[in-house]
């Protein structure tokens, strides 16, 4: 079998090398597929369903970008990444976009040379404990065993939190969310800590979700957002404004149901017109056609729809909008204007 592999390596290397000089947008168009990095499986955010089709909140963003750029929301190759591999995968160009509930931090943005293009979920780190433990505050966890996913900011926050409160704990490092879930359910750790959204998602997969509570303390700010490589600003703009388009669409009341109707002719609201390309030439400015935002919204819905469908209160995950409500509803979502 020796030569075939060589051949494979050569063809792949050759093909990739041919296109490497061009910008990410051209790469994606040439390939006809968007390579999108997601988690290895976190229900509600990104997980393959029984048929192997990826679904979730982060997945929807990948699909929206694919719809805007390629006109097909299914033209996405999902690359599962772990805490360890995600940044290498992005830096090496294996993926064009990382949408893996990654926290926007100073050093990741600067030292690791990535560009966070926005925030699609305002999160914070919380603790999940069994009700039977009788704990009502994270500060009562003195001496507890805590399961923690390695290679994440949560690990550092955890150390800071316990040090600041001068209480001790025993960290049990685990590699993936699946393992953390097993260890926690087996009782090998008293508490499992990660982003509150991740905890809700994990708890939703339990047999008896009601036996477990998420403690009220949120010990950190975890703004999660998609990121791209540093230096390709055109591509960064496309991802940033696709995200903003979804947020703006919700603010303006554009949904997947009415987007086709609104886009068929210029309406009364000029911002909707600009967003959907019936007025102005915003699409052209980011090297796309005028229908780009319409396609993104039509394929996955606006931000609110994505949220409700994947992680909202009606889903097993059951997250409320909270900080992630529109600014008009008292939340933090505030998209810059389309103008």
């Amino acid at each position: 079998m020796k030569k075939t592999v060589f051949l494979g390596a050569l063809t792949v290397a050759g093909l990739a090398a041919g296109a490497s000089a061009a910008a990410t947008l051209d790469d994606v168009k040439a390939r006809g597929k968007l390579n999108c990095g997601v988690t290895t499986g976190l229900v509600g955010f990104a997980a393959p369903d029984a048929n192997g089709v990826w679904e979730g909140f982060d997945v929807a963003l990948c699909r929206a970008v694919a719809a805007a750029v390629l006109g097909d929301a299914n033209a996405v190759e999902f690359v599962p990444t772990t805490g360890k591999t995600r940044f290498t995968a992005l830096a090496s160009g294996e993926i064009d976009l990382l949408a893996r509930n990654t926290t926007w931090t100073f050093s990741r943005d600067t030292d690791l040379k990535f560009d966070f293009v926005g925030i699609n979920y305002y999160d914070g780190q919380g603790f999940l404990v069994p009700k039977a433990l009788g704990v009502s505050s994270a500060k009562e966890l003195d001496g507890a065993t805590v399961c923690i996913q390695t290679g994440t900011t949560t690990e550092l926050n955890l150390a800071d939190f316990f040090r600041a409160n001068n209480i001790s704990y025993e960290p049990v490092p685990i590699e993936t969310n699946a393992e953390g879930q097993q260890q926690y359910l087996a009782g090998a750790c008293d508490s499992y800590t990660t982003d509150a959204s991740g905890l809700a998602s994990t708890r939703a997969a339990f047999e008896n979700p009601g036996d477990h509570v998420i403690l009220p303390e949120i010990i950190s700010k975890e703004p999660l957002g998609p990121l791209v490589r540093h230096g390709d600003n055109d591509w960064g703009d496309i991802v940033r404004w696709t995200l903003n388009a979804l947020i703006t669409a919700e603010e303006l009341g554009v949904t997947s149901a009415n987007v086709n109707e609104l886009a068929s002719a210029p309406g009364s609201n000029p911002e909707i017109n600009r967003l959907l390309g019936t007025e102005g030439n915003l699409g052209e400015m980011i090297s796309l056609d005028s229908d780009w935002a319409k396609r993104a919204i039509a394929s996955v819905g606006n931000y609110g729809e994505v949220f409700e469908k994947n992680i909202g209160e009606k889903t097993p995950i059951g997250l409320s909008r909270g900080l992630n409500a529109q600014w008009t509803d008292g939340g933090l979502l505030y998209s810059p204007p389309f103008r």
Binding site: K113, G143, P171
Partner: protein, 404 residues
């Protein structure tokens, strides 16, 4: 060839570089060197290009930064404010701990199983064959995961030890098996304990001297001094006396259920146990085969000759067979130790914080310095391997000299 009728011309032709065996090897080496340098240059240039594209550089300065994360098993002082370098050292020590424990236990398993595989007892022989084949033919990673699962999913949670009608209880009120590991009493070294320890060390030396004296006496005069009980007396009596003389300075710290977990005593974590036993049992199966091969390599005539001298079976084993078998056993044994040490890097699968877990795991993830971390990691293992190989070479040479 035609060398006689056609003496080699003095003039040098380019084709001689390939066709003349005298020059050919130089040509090849030259080409190989050029190719190697081209390859290195190519990879290096790519590396530089990639790094500069991403605005990164190769620098080991991150080792001096605070690590920011906690490690559960700390042989030396460490907290989240310590440097990445210190975290790596903690990892190295943890690797050495599990490798040492693993090698020790694997040797015991291996020697017992290897000797029993040659036992006259049919049932024992078959059982050991099953052990060896079952463990050799299944990946060690699966064994690690299985034992880890036993540790976490089968053992009771600390909560089960609590309350009036606890479902679990501690062994001898001293050892607790929980799904977070095993808690055993740990010694507390009071003032004066140093004297006891020194006495014990001196007793060990004394015992060796006694045994040497007894052997010498046996060879010189044929007088047989008892070996067994005097050794034990020399080993323990002075230490025990000294222990009471100094006012019992060494006491035991018993684990006790306080708060969420057992406190006090020595906490042997489930991940360490899983890794330790899986590596020991797995490597033990290989060592058993080495031991068996070593014993079988000693010819039957040796056993018969020894028996004809009137030696008893266990003396034949100790005095005739084993010394000869050891020569065959030890070189592969050492390479099994090496394998075990390298396999201990699978710690990452169960979250044991060895050097692969700290330097190659969390530090790599938190700093994003993949090249530097993997490089240091490889250097560490390479150093261990090469030094063990060096020891092995010295040993091999030393036993070679005795051969006639």
């Amino acid at each position: 060839m035609t060398t006689i009728s056609d003496p080699p011309k003095a003039s040098f032709q380019l084709s001689m570089l390939i066709y003349d065996t005298r020059f050919r090897s130089y040509t090849f080496q030259f080409i190989a060197l050029i190719l190697l340098m081209l390859l290195i240059g190519y990879l290096g240039a790519n590396l530089m290009k990639n790094l500069s594209d991403q605005g990164q550089n190769i620098s080991f300065r991150f080792l001096q930064d605070p690590s920011g994360y906690d490690i559960n098993q700390r042989p030396i002082e460490y907290d989240s404010q310590s440097t990445h370098l210190r975290a790596s050292i903690v990892g190295v020590l943890n690797t050495l701990i599990v490798a040492f424990l693993g090698c020790l236990t694997a040797t015991v398993f291996g020697v017992v199983a290897g000797v029993l595989r040659l036992s006259p007892n049919w049932l024992v022989r078959k059982l050991m064959a099953v052990y060896v084949e079952a463990f050799r033919n299944v990946p060690v990673l699966i064994w690690i995961l299985i034992i880890f699962t036993v540790m976490t999913a089968v053992m009771p949670a600390p909560n089960a030890f609590r309350g009036e009608n606890a479902t679990s209880s501690m062994l001898f009120d001293a050892v607790a098996f929980t799904n977070r590991g095993v808690y055993v009493p740990s010694p507390v070294w009071g003032s004066g304990s140093m004297v006891v320890v020194l006495t014990f060390l001196a007793s060990i030396i004394g015992m060796f001297y006694y045994r040497r004296y007894a052997t010498k006496l046996l060879y010189d005069t044929g007088k047989l001094l008892p070996m067994g009980w005097p050794s034990l007396v020399i080993l323990f009596v002075p230490s025990i006396l000294m222990y009471f003389v100094m006012g019992q300075p060494i006491s035991l710290d018993y684990p006790e259920l306080r708060g969420f977990n057992f406190q006090g005593g020595l906490h042997i974590r489930g991940s360490l146990i899983a890794l330790w036993f899986a590596l020991a049992i797995y490597t033990g199966a290989f060592i058993a085969e080495n031991v068996r091969a070593g014993i079988q390599a000693v010819s039957k005539g040796q056993t018969e000759a020894a028996a004809s001298l009137g030696l008893r079976p266990n003396r034949i084993m100790n005095l005739v067979i084993l010394p000869q078998a050891l020569r065959v056993i030890i070189p592969p044994l050492i390479s099994q130790y090496l394998n075990l040490t390298k396999n201990s890097s699978l710690a990452i699968a169960v979250g044991y914080m060895d050097v692969t877990g700290t330097l190659g795991g969390i530090t790599l993830n938190q700093t994003g310095r993949a090249i530097e971390c993997v490089l240091l990691l490889m250097l560490f293992y390479l150093t261990i391997s090469l030094s063990i190989s060096a020891v092995m070479n010295v040993y091999n040479n030393s036993i070679k000299l005795k051969e006639r």
